[in-house]
Amino acid sequence: MAFLSIHGLTVSYGGKADVLRDVSLEVERGEVIGLIGPSGSGKSTILRTLVGLLKPRAGTVTLDGTKVDYGSRGSLRAARDRFAIVFQQYNLFQNMTALRNVAIAPTLVKKRGRATVEEEARALLARVGLAEKVNAYPDELSGGQQQRVAIARALALKPDILLLDEITAALDPELVGEVLDTIRALQKDGMTMLIVSHEMAFIREVASRVAFLDQGSVVETGPPAEMFDRPNSPRLKEFTSRILRH
């Protein structure tokens, strides 16, 4: 079985209509999966469900051979220990400096020594180009800077699987390249990633496979080149032509 196996995942928000319908996806270790699809198709919901912020109504998630039971505290805890998510809206803790945002979970949750963690946190912030901003609060940082702190915070967790939700959407064009370089480096290091993005050129470059979502269902999956150059379904055809024209 694949490293991460999602099977028949069905999710709704508080008893309303399903926003994910029977979603299945296999992710091998070290693989980078691009999740694409129109706004509202359920891309964020997949990532949020994986980290247990929504409870699936049906379906299974199997991580490294172990089925995740989202109803069980212990199982959920074990799963969250291996995922890290970067949210579309960064979600940095507003009451903490950049450094503290990055260092808090490793010290508090993973119980690692504060000195080592902070040293690592500084290195991570330097890596995303924010060495001088370690003591800044989120409201003193631009959207792009906050997004990069959020990436550093996710990396500090040393996750097995990194979930990235439109991390370049809020960045200034000149910063997009920088952040994408970071992701490229992670891919080279063999990090398993699920990337939601509208940067089609980037997805084509880093993703080994792409899943196209529409209205809560996976319509088509395949290697990026095939998906973009020879889409099978009319909906993907329409989506790619629309997004590549922009």
Binding site: G52, Q94, N95, L108, Y137, D139
Partner: protein, 229 residues
Amino acid sequence: MWDQILEDAPRFFGPWNLLFLGEALVNTLLLSYIGAALGFMIGFGLAIGRHPRLYGILPVRLAATAYVEVFRRIPFLVKLMCVFFAFQLSGTQATLFTVALVTVVLSAAAFAAEIARAGIEAVPAPQWDAAEAMNFSRWRVLTRVVAPQSWRVVLPPLFGYAVGFIKSTSIASQIGVMELTYAAKILNTRGFSALLCFGTILVLYFLICWPTKRIGERLEARLGRRAKA
């Protein structure tokens, strides 16, 4: 009139009266501060127990909500009577002071629970999402992320109510609790001028309320600065 007051003053501020007023002042302080402190703690507990993303299980939530909604709406004097008769019915020997203290605690808890709820609600859901996704326990979500961002919203009304409770304790004089207002009434019936009696406790109330308000403002400035939002 002023002549009368000046003539009365030395006798009014005699040792016996000062002792009497001192005891009343201590009782008012104890009722206000112990009552508010205990009440706020219970109120925060209720708010935490009520919150679906913290510890809220349904029966606790319903009970807490009912308590908060009812106790915020009953006038202090009515609550005071209820507690008084509750003690009588249960056959428990309780001093009038205890009756008043319990009433202050019950009121303060209901108001603090509501204020704390609003404070928790003021922290946007994405903050919770991030903490939960990183495996923060509920207690840590509360203490490290939510509470630090709530103080800004919680402290101003909380200290507003604290000042209110100090004033409410005067209602305890209605059942004969020896606090400031009751002391003033007694001294007044002993023949001291009303202006002197009530003027004195007026000053004393002010001396309690004003620093309370100031402490609130200082805390607000300090915690508000740390918890940027």
